[in-house]
């Protein structure tokens, strides 16, 4: 855009390498802190965090998930680890336990760990500096540190993005969720954590086809941000949460496959983003096949 009319005040110089400074851990590999955020609640942050964690562990990565939603602990339930909690994030930060004591190891994946949120405290018990210090310790040992950010734009959000090398923004193709995602994207840029990448969750292909839902292209147009994955609406997701077994372990789930692909992209693989399954009835699919217009 034209810069001629702007005042001479220049924006502060920004680092040109993105994402942020990844450090080498004990295995000599670069560890990455990835924060999963959204602005609006209920769009699938916790589900996304759990699934990316499991999928990265399946790729052989050493992964720790941090539930930063203090007072509204949930990641433990979605992961099926709620009965194993002794210490939590605030216990580590306030020195009541050693870091190692608060790491809950997943039964099926010995290289997947969880640090649960405190349930009886609030977000002011943790500062952004605490989070940076904690993740610096975790970087020594883990390939990926995933942080499940609370909804909102207050202290909890600032805590969660402070140590991030990369921020993922989860949204749904709905006006309220997209608007909040835009606000979050602006705040991430203001904190020099940008530009962030988008996960579009709960897309209904048949509604997009009928023009009754924002398409992935629409959302990318509106938010002007890179997309790292499209997750279709899938009835397997709720049963997976019900039983505490993330849906990315279900080989037949389309949402599970989408989360596994996002994990591979996070891991540096080039995985093309597949177009939506066209949806619609069998006649519509057949006619689209004939006309050759079945790509998005």
């Amino acid at each position: 855009m034209g810069e001629a009319g702007r005042p001479t005040a220049k924006p502060p110089a920004r680092p040109t390498t993105l994402p942020g400074p990844a450090q080498h851990n004990a295995h000599g590999k670069k560890s990455k802190v990835v924060t999963i955020t959204s602005g609006k609640g209920g769009v699938g942050k916790t589900t996304t965090t759990a699934n990316l964690g499991v999928a990265l562990a399946r790729l052989g990565k050493k992964v720790v998930l941090i539930d930063a939603d203090i007072g509204l602990r949930n990641l433990d339930v979605v992961m099926g680890l709620e009965n194993r909690i002794v210490y939590d994030l605030v216990d580590i930060i306030e020195g009541r336990c050693k870091l190692r004591q608060a790491l809950i190891k997943h039964k099926a994946f010995p290289d997947l760990y969880l640090i649960p949120a405190a349930q009886t405290r609030d977000k002011t018990a943790v500062t952004p500096a605490d989070m940076v210090q904690l993740t610096d310790q975790l970087r020594e040992e883990f390939d990926f540190i995933l942080i499940d950010c609370p909804a909102g734009i207050e202290r909890g959000f600032r805590n969660a993005i402070a140590p991030a090398d990369m921020v993922l923004i989860v949204t749904n193709p709905e006006v309220s969720a997209v608007r909040d995602a835009d606000r979050i994207i602006g705040l991430i840029e203001a904190e020099n954590k940008g530009p962030g990448q988008l996960i579009l969750n709960r897309v209904k292909a048949d509604m997009v086809r009928r023009g009754e839902m924002l398409s992935p292209d629409d959302v990318v147009d509106i938010l002007a941000i890179k997309i790292i994955g499209i997750v279709p609406e899938d009835e397997n997701v709720i049963p997976a949460s019900n039983s505490g077994v993330p849906v990315s372990l279900n080989e037949n789930s389309r949402a599970g496959a989408a989360f596994r692909n996002i994990a591979r992209r996070l891991n540096g693989e080039e995985v093309p983003i597949t177009p939506l399954d066209g949806g619609g009835n069998i006649l519509q699919r057949f006619v689209r096949f004939l006309v050759g217009s079945d790509s998005q």
Binding site: P11, R179, P195, E212, L214, I222, L223, R288
Partner: protein
Amino acid sequence: MSGFLDRLLGRGKGSGATAKQRLQFILVHDRINLSPERMEEMKREILAVISKYVNVDDDHVDIALQQGNQRGSVLVAEVPFTKAVEGIERDDPEILSSLDETVPKRDAASGASRPEADEQRDD
């Protein structure tokens, strides 16, 4: 024919297009973080400057925000005018001093776009 084909394919113009339009309008205003009062003030001052040089047709002025490149915003102004203002020297001290009092603050104006965002995406 194309309408028939669209129906056969299960495509149509629905509320999705409305959602996109509405969001683009909302977000361009959300992003600049400028109150409606400040926005009006800015428009008035822009017009005051232009009126210094030409006779503006006030009834047909249109100054509005649009989505720009990437996440930036563009201020688009349509300012019809008739002819140059007569009888005023360009450096008339009275007019200049009256304008000085209303010159917008710089930090307010710099929020109108997100140059950082544009720069980042150029790579």
